[in-house]
Symmetry: C2
């Protein structure tokens, strides 16, 4: 797999795994219907416990990124991920809030902050176009 974990990070392993898979979808390395390794295979592959992988999968399932068929295994959600609604955008703002506040304290201009976001969008877009 394409998973890269940082075991020195403060960020929990299962959270890193969640983010990696979501990034994979954003970059279109993973497309609707694509299979993911079984919890045991993934765990063995990246050298962590089965339950840590399962925890990540359950989160991804609950948020609609993947489907878990008891028979067919784990796949990227065939219908695609649910589109953002007003509630989701509000949640995004809430999470971005502390970063904006601290940036203002550190005299980061609005333009410079937006540039950081744009760079990230470009990064995902370019990766997506390689496919």
């Amino acid at each position: 797999m394409f998973i890269r974990l940082d075991f020195e990070s403060d960020e929990p392993i299962y959270t890193q795994l969640i983010h990696q898979i979501i990034e994979g979808i954003a970059k279109k390395n993973l497309s609707p219907g694509d299979p993911l390794p079984s919890v045991r295979a993934m765990a063995a592959d990246i050298g962590i416990n089965l339950h840590t992988v399962n925890k990540a999968y359950q989160h991804l399932k609950q948020e609609g990124f993947i489907l878990i068929h008891r028979q067919k295994g784990v796949v990227i959600h065939p219908d695609g991920v649910a589109k953002a609604d007003a509630a989701y955008m509000k949640q995004v703002q809430k999470k971005l809030r502390p970063f904006v506040a601290e940036s203002i304290c550190r005299q980061v201009s609005e333009e410079e902050f937006l540039k950081q976001c744009q760079e990230l969008f470009n990064e995902f877009k370019e990766e997506g176009e390689k496919k």
Copy 2:
């Protein structure tokens, strides 16, 4: 004080306190040199433990938002907060990354995402101009 905590949130109390104070600085409700309540006064005021407040203050101190004089008490850093450097901006990008990735999965356009950031900047700016 102007502190509002959500005891139902997943976000730890001391982290919420940190963010509230940083927001206060961003909105210029708190200016360089302004005093903050003692750990005991703050704790009693918002109904939490002294050590939880102390933990927040220590973080704010380490990141240069406040100064702690053994005599004079706690004050917003008189010299202002250190300006963002390249390392800080890199760190910001790293933290924004998961939000951008998930937004892309949910078909949030770059323009819409940037709009959310702009709204936050405007919110802080307007609050700051009230003073």
